[in-house]
Subunit: 350 residues, 2 copies
C-alpha cells in the first residue's frame, strides 16, 4: 500500500513513523505537552504568527462576501451531538447541565435566519476517545470557523470554501513565503478550482480497489480519509453521504431519499479532513423525526425545537478547523503543533 | 443624590427604573431570554452588525500597533480566581477538574513572554451570583479582548486603551452614524486624551462626599462604580488599588508597598466599568506568597508556577469586555441586549 501513496507529505510520513511505536510517541507527547508553556523555538512562534494571518485572511474573505462575524455561543443547554465518538463537556449551570459547545450548529441556523450570511470563530470542546492521541488530527480544545448562509445550496458553500482556502494561501504566501520555506520547508500555491468532487459511493469504490471494505451507511473513518487524502496533491470534496452517517441537521435530499445534501472537504498529501458542511434540515417535523431516529432526547433541544416550530430559514454552511488548516498550511506533523497550549485526549497540560 | 447625576444616560436611567420593581424586571428578562432565538427586530440585528464593526476596529487598531492575535485557551487546569464573587464552571477532563476560562490572564503572561505583544478574543464563563441579574452589567457568558504587552508599564497600556476606545468610536461612527442615531438615539465622538486618572484613594473621598463609606482595601462595588460613572461625561481611570483588593497577579509597586500598579477604566454616563488592567507579578516567590495570602492552593497552579520558576517576562495588560463596550457604544440598557443568546445568572435560555 505504502508505495501507492506518492503524494504523502513528509510530515505526515514522519507522524506515521512516530506513532508506529506507540509508547515512544506517547512519551514524546506527554513531555511536549507538560512543558507547552515554554515557547522558545522560532518554529512555534512563527506558526502562531502564520495562524494570525490565516484568521485575518479568513475574516477578510468572508467580510468581503457580505458575511457578518458574530461572537459565538460558549455554553448552552444543547450542542451538536454528531461528533464521532467524542463526549461533550458538561458544566453545572445553576442546577442544570449545560454543554460546552462541541459545535455551534444549532446557533448558526438561528443567526442565519436573522442575518442571512454569518460566521463564528467558534470555541469547541470535544472529549475525544483516547485512541485519538495517535491520529495527529484531534484536539480536545480547538477553534473552527463556522459559516452559515441562508437559502444557499451545498454547491454554493463548496465554492465559498474553495475561495476561502485559496485566499488564505494567497495571504500566507504574500506575508510568510520566506519563513514558510526556511522553517517549514513548505511551499504552497493557489489550487485550481473547482476542486474535484467524489460522491460517497465513489469513495467506497476507491477504498475497495485499495483492498479496504468500508461499510455503506457509516462515516468514512479518519484512517481511510488519511489514505485517500494521501493519493491527492490537491484538495477535493466527498459529497452525498448516506442518511444515518451524519448528524440530524444534514438535509436529506427530497429527490433522493436516503442521500444527504452534504460534503466534506479533504486536504491532499495525507492531511485528511478539512471541512464538514451541508444544507440543513429546518422543518420541525423532519428534525424531530431525525432526532428520534438517532436516539436523541427531544426535551434536551427544547429551545431549538421551539424555534423550528416558529419557522427558520433553510440554510447551508460548513465548519473549518483552524488548527487543522494551520497544520496543512505549515505542513506540520500534527494539530498539537498548531496550538500553543494543545489539549489532547487524556493528557494533562496547561 | 439623583439630582447630582446629571450625566446619566437615558438607558441607564431606564434600567434603574426597571429594576426598581424586581419582580417585573425578572419577568421581563425571563420572557426575553426564553425567546432569545427569535431575532426579528432591527435594533438587535443592527447591534450585531455594530458589534462586528467594533471587533474589526479593535483588531485593526491592535494589529497596527504590532500586537499578534492568538486563539485563546477555552479550558485548563487553572483559571483566574480573582472574579468578585463568581464561581468557575468546572468540567471533567478525563478524571481531572478543568475550569472553563473565567479569564485567560495566566496564559496571557505565557504568550507575552513568547511574542511580546499579544491579544486574545477570549471566551469566558463566570457563574455570577443571582443578584447580578439586576446590574445590567453581568453576563455568565461573554467575550473579552485580552491584551498583554511584555515590559510595558500600566501607564503605557492605559494610553493603548484610550487609543483603542477612540478608534472603535471612529470606525463605528464612520460606518453606522445614521443607524446609531435613528435606532439608538446615540451620538458619539472621539474623547480627548489623556483620560482623567483618579487614584483609588481619591475615589473613596468622592464617595465619602456623596455620603457613602467605602472600606479601604476592598474593590469598589459595581453600585459605586455606576454612581461615579454617572458623574462623568467622559471615560476615566481609577488607578493604584490597594493590595488585597485584586487578584494575585496585579503587581505590588516595589516603591509603594501595599499599592498595586493597576487600573480600571470606567465609561461615563452610568455605564460603569469598561476595563481592568495592571502590571503583573511575574517572580515565582512573590506570586506564590500572594497566592497563599489570598487562600489559593498552589498545587492547582502547578504549570503556571513551573513556568514562573523558569522565568517569564514582566508585562502589563488589560481586558475589555466586548458586550459592555457594545452596550456603551449603542447606549443599551443592559449587557443582555448586547448578545444574541445572553446567559444571565440562574436564568435558562438558549
Amino acid at each position: 500500500m505504502e508505495t501507492k501513496l506518492l503524494k504523502i507529505h513528509e510530515s505526515v510520513r514522519e507522524l506515521r513513523k512516530l506513532r508506529s511505536d506507540k509508547e515512544k510517541y506517547l512519551k514524546l507527547l506527554e513531555s511536549k505537552l507538560s512543558k507547552s508553556y515554554r515557547i522558545k523555538d522560532e518554529k512555534t512562534k512563527t506558526m502562531i504568527r502564520i495562524q494570525a494571518t490565516i484568521l485575518s485572511a479568513i475574516r477578510e474573505y468572508l467580510d468581503s462576501k457580505g458575511f457578518v462575524e458574530i461572537l459565538p455561543p460558549i455554553i448552552g443547554p444543547a450542542s451538536d451531538p454528531g461528533i464521532r465518538g467524542a463526549r461533550q463537556a458538561v458544566i453545572d449551570f445553576y442546577g442544570r447541565p449545560y454543554k460546552v459547545m462541541s459545535s455551534a450548529i444549532l446557533y448558526k441556523q438561528m443567526m442565519a435566519t436573522a442575518l442571512k450570511k454569518i460566521y463564528f470563530v467558534s470555541p469547541n470542546i470535544r472529549l475525544e476517545p483516547l485512541e485519538t492521541i495517535y491520529t495527529g488530527r484531534h484536539l480536545v480544545e480547538f477553534f473552527q470557523v463556522d459559516i452559515e448562509w441562508a437559502r444557499a445550496t451545498y454547491f454554493q458553500v463548496m465554492s465559498l470554501a474553495e475561495g476561502l482556502l485559496n485566499h488564505v494561501i494567497k495571504r500566507v504566501t504574500e506575508e510568510h513565503q520566506k519563513t514558510l520555506e526556511e522553517l517549514f520547508h513548505r511551499s504552497l500555491s493557489i489550487f485550481p478550482t473547482p476542486f474535484k468532487k467524489y460522491s460517497y459511493i465513489e469513495v467506497l469504490k476507491i477504498l475497495k480497489d485499495l483492498g479496504i471494505e468500508a461499510k455503506y451507511g457509516e462515516e468514512i473513518s479518519w484512517e481511510c480519509e488519511e489514505l485517500i487524502s494521501a493519493l491527492h496533491d490537491r484538495p477535493f470534496f466527498i459529497i452525498d453521504y448516506p442518511l444515518g452517517s451524519r448528524g440530524f441537521y444534514d438535509l436529506e435530499d427530497p429527490e433522493r431519499p436516503g442521500i444527504l445534501r452534504d460534503f466534506d472537504m479533504l486536504y491532499p498529501e495525507g492531511f485528511g479532513e478539512a471541512i464538514s458542511g451541508a444544507e440543513r434540515e429546518y422543518q420541525y417535523h423532519r428534525v424531530a423525526k431525525r432526532m428520534l431516529d438517532s436516539g436523541e432526547k427531544l426535551e434536551e433541544y427544547s429551545w431549538y425545537l421551539n424555534m423550528l416550530k416558529e419557522g427558520i430559514e433553510p440554510s447551508a454552511g460548513f465548519g473549518i478547523g483552524v488548527e487543522r488548516l494551520t497544520r496543512f498550511i505549515c505542513g506540520l506533523r500534527a494539530v498539537w503543533e498548531a496550538r500553543p497550549y494543545p489539549k489532547v485526549a487524556g493528557l494533562f497540560s496547561p
